[in-house]
Structures are given as structure tokens and as C-alpha cells.
Assembly symmetry: C2
Homo-oligomer: 270 residues x 2
Amino acid sequence: MAIADLDRRQALLYLASIGGIAAAGGASSLLAGTAPETPAPPPKSTLARLPWPYKALDPDAVGNRAYQDYSKAHCMYGTFEAIVGSVAEKLGAPYTDFPFEMFIYGAGGVYGWGTLCGCLNGCAAAIQVLSANPEPLVDELYRWYQTAALPDFDPKGMKFKSVHSVAGSPLCHPSIAKWCEASGKKAYSPERKDRCGVITASVARKCAMLLNDQAAGKFAPVNGVDARTKGCMGCHEKGGPLENMRSKQACAPCHSDETLAMKGHAKIKL
Amino acid sequence: MAIADLDRRQALLYLASIGGIAAAGGASSLLAGTAPETPAPPPKSTLARLPWPYKALDPDAVGNRAYQDYSKAHCMYGTFEAIVGSVAEKLGAPYTDFPFEMFIYGAGGVYGWGTLCGCLNGCAAAIQVLSANPEPLVDELYRWYQTAALPDFDPKGMKFKSVHSVAGSPLCHPSIAKWCEASGKKAYSPERKDRCGVITASVARKCAMLLNDQAAGKFAPVNGVDARTKGCMGCHEKGGPLENMRSKQACAPCHSDETLAMKGHAKIKL
């Protein structure tokens, strides 16, 4: 065996001993002691392999962590870090090196744009990282969010008594508007800020429950499509005679019977 | 110097020579030759430090790459990978190990929900990873998207002649509905699928231009808030007498003068 191979073996054994090699496959092939004629491609970090191995989570602990995370970097970071960070801690490096803080961008429906609720954006990202079958979990979580009176969980350290409201939508803008209406508080008040922290806790907790259920083979969706939305979809969604839009959102909150009638829309068949 | 220290030095020099050490700080302290009494915490991967060092990009190349990426994993992955993947390739490991494929979740406004356009979700994530001052770039990109006739770029390999439309919104659902109206094509047609690939190219290209401008110190926003939206915000946004919602989206496309009048809303002061 040549000196070069000894060096390589020493290097790899040493790095393996201090946990510095993420790609065991690459290490073992080099340790076999023969230098391949064509260099193998560099081993990919396990970060690049999805889904990560899932470890069942304590939903209440996830909720409490999400509430704390919200105060650090808002709603999207809050749900994503509470769920994926909790799994990453159980797995160790390289999972703990994920740049979690990148998800600060989802705050207020992306830097205050009021589009997708950051809690739901973070959860969809988390589900994608942790589930081999993400879509049913996203669908269930989003349908629950748009129809449930939330928040449904009181995280440790919350500052105000919760006022419950139904968003009617997965979007930040109507979610906050509905809460302002229910609470009588302003959109930039301390109460609203804390409410979004508590919603972050509530949504992360629900997401952890869904991930746990799927991992245990007992996930069963309970939130279906409402009759009015089904009626709209019959014409406008895939396979309908018009097929002129795409959406899984409930239609009525934005397209009420009144506004449709004003535009000369025929009565929707339910 | 003890044998153990020689082994350590050889190991680290070897790994450094093949590019296997991400944490130069950890390597250099070990190479100093003295074993600390208390082990240092494991070095954080540079992935966890944001923003990544930015390298100016060729916007047309980013657009072409985004179009190809769209065919692999849809719109959010398309813009994010084309931008951040292009920078990652210039930086090498560990940046190339980022789990890019996680962003498949944003397709069709998150698994077909029609919320935030996946191109814009991916770009906001990319801007967060690459910019030290993300918000002005997100605002400019989103305002451009909701008012411009898009697509404004023809990527290599596109399958159909572009039909231009104005989304009026950063959301997927109205963006596709407006395009279906303009083109007369269906929402699940091959033409619509290709249109979203071309939009992915167009948005990624614009985002690269904005990142380049900011990195060169010459970024200047040109897309302002329209007068109608300013009129709404005067009452409903931060500091207004109602302050009962949060949004930067244009108001009129969802809240038309007609629907407001129907609800007894007074005429908006412009």
C-alpha cells in the first residue's frame, strides 16, 4: 500500500472518530485502500436527501417552542424551526446546521405582503422536509386553519388572553382582519403581535400531530372541501367545462354570493 | 509533538487538500497542535450563516436555468434553485449541499392551493439567503410581478409562443385566472404548464437583476404603491384610524369600487 493511501486511511479514520464525516459511503470506499482511476463524485451531504428521518414529536413542546421562536424571527421561522429544529436536535449534525433563520422572510405573509400565512408557509416547508407523502398533510392542515376557531392552544408565557377567530382563508391578510374584527384590537397592537405568536404555536402543534399520525400509519383527514367550494370547482377547476383557475382555497370568503350575483353569475349548483 | 498531534495534522491537511473541511476555524485550532482541556463546541457549518457571499449572476442564464428547473420540481424550486444554486456552484461545498429539492412544496401556490405564486415564494427565500437587506428587493419584485405584463423573457426551449397577462396580485390563483382569460386556454392545459415555466424563468431573471443591482450599490425601486391602494391604506393600514389589516398587495383587484359600494363603503379618498 502506498504512502498516499496510508495518509488517506489515517485522515478518514481520524475524521470518522471525531464525527467529521457525513458521508459514510464515500469514506468506506476510500478506506477500501484502492484509488479509483476516475475520481468518484463528491459525496452529497445528508442534508440534500429528503425526507429526513422523522422522530415523533411532543406536540405541546413543539407549540411552546414555536411561541418562543416567533419572538426571535416571526411566524414562518417559528413553525419551521419548532418542528424541523426539534427533529434536527434528535438527529445531530449535519441536520442542526440547516440555515433555519432564512425563514424569517415569511413574516406577515412575506415581509408584510399579507399573502400566505407564514405559519402555513413554514409548516409546508417542514412537512416537505419530514414526510414522504407531504400533500395530504398540507391539505389537512390548510383546511383546518381556514375553518377552525383559532388559536386552540395556550403556549407557556403568552401575554394576553386569546380571542378566537376563523380566518376563512390560508392567507395572512384575511386572517389578521378577521381577528381584528373579533377582538376590536388594532393590526399593529401588542395584542395582535402576541396573537400571531400564539397562532404560530397552535399551527406548529397541529402540524406535529399530523406528522406523528402519518409516521405512525394512522393519519386520516377530517377536514373536507365545503359544498359551496365543490360547487365552484365543478365548473372552474380541473375537468370542469370552464377549467379557468387553480385553487384549493374556500371560494366564498372572497367570492360571496352577493358579489357573484352583481357580476351576473348564475346561482351555483350545490 | 506527540504522534496523536501528527495524526491530527495529517488528517486535517489531507481533508483540506480535497476540500473536505467546511469549518476552517475548527481546523486551524486543531492544527495549532495543542489539545484543549474542554472540547470546543462543534463548528457551525457556513450554511447556517446568512447571507451567503453573493456573486453577481448572468440574469439570462438564471432565467434559462429556472425554466429547466421548473420541469424538474415546479415554480418555487425553479426560481430558488436557479438563483441560489448558481451562487452555490461558484462557492462550492457546503453551499452545494443545501437541500434545494425541499422547495417543490411551493408548486401552484403550495401544492395547488393557489396562495402565494411559487416563483415569488422561491425568490423571497433566495433573496433572504443572498441579501443583507432583503425587504426592499422583495417589495420591488412583488410590485413588478403584480403590475407588469408577463412573461417578459423567452427562455431557451420554451414550447409555445407567450401570451402576456397582468396578474394584479402576487397570488397564484388570480395570476393563472388572468392568464386563462387572456389566452383562452385551460388551467391544466400544456400551454398553461409551459406558461408557468416561462414565468418561472422571467421572475428568476428579474430577481437576479435586482440582486446584482443591490450588490453593486445601484438598486433603486421603480414600482411604487398605486394611488387607490394608498387611499385604502390611509384608513386601514398602520397608523390609520381603523388600522384593521396588514397588506402590501394592491387592493382594487379583490376589493373593487363596485363591491365596496355594495357594502356601503364610502368613496375612497385618493
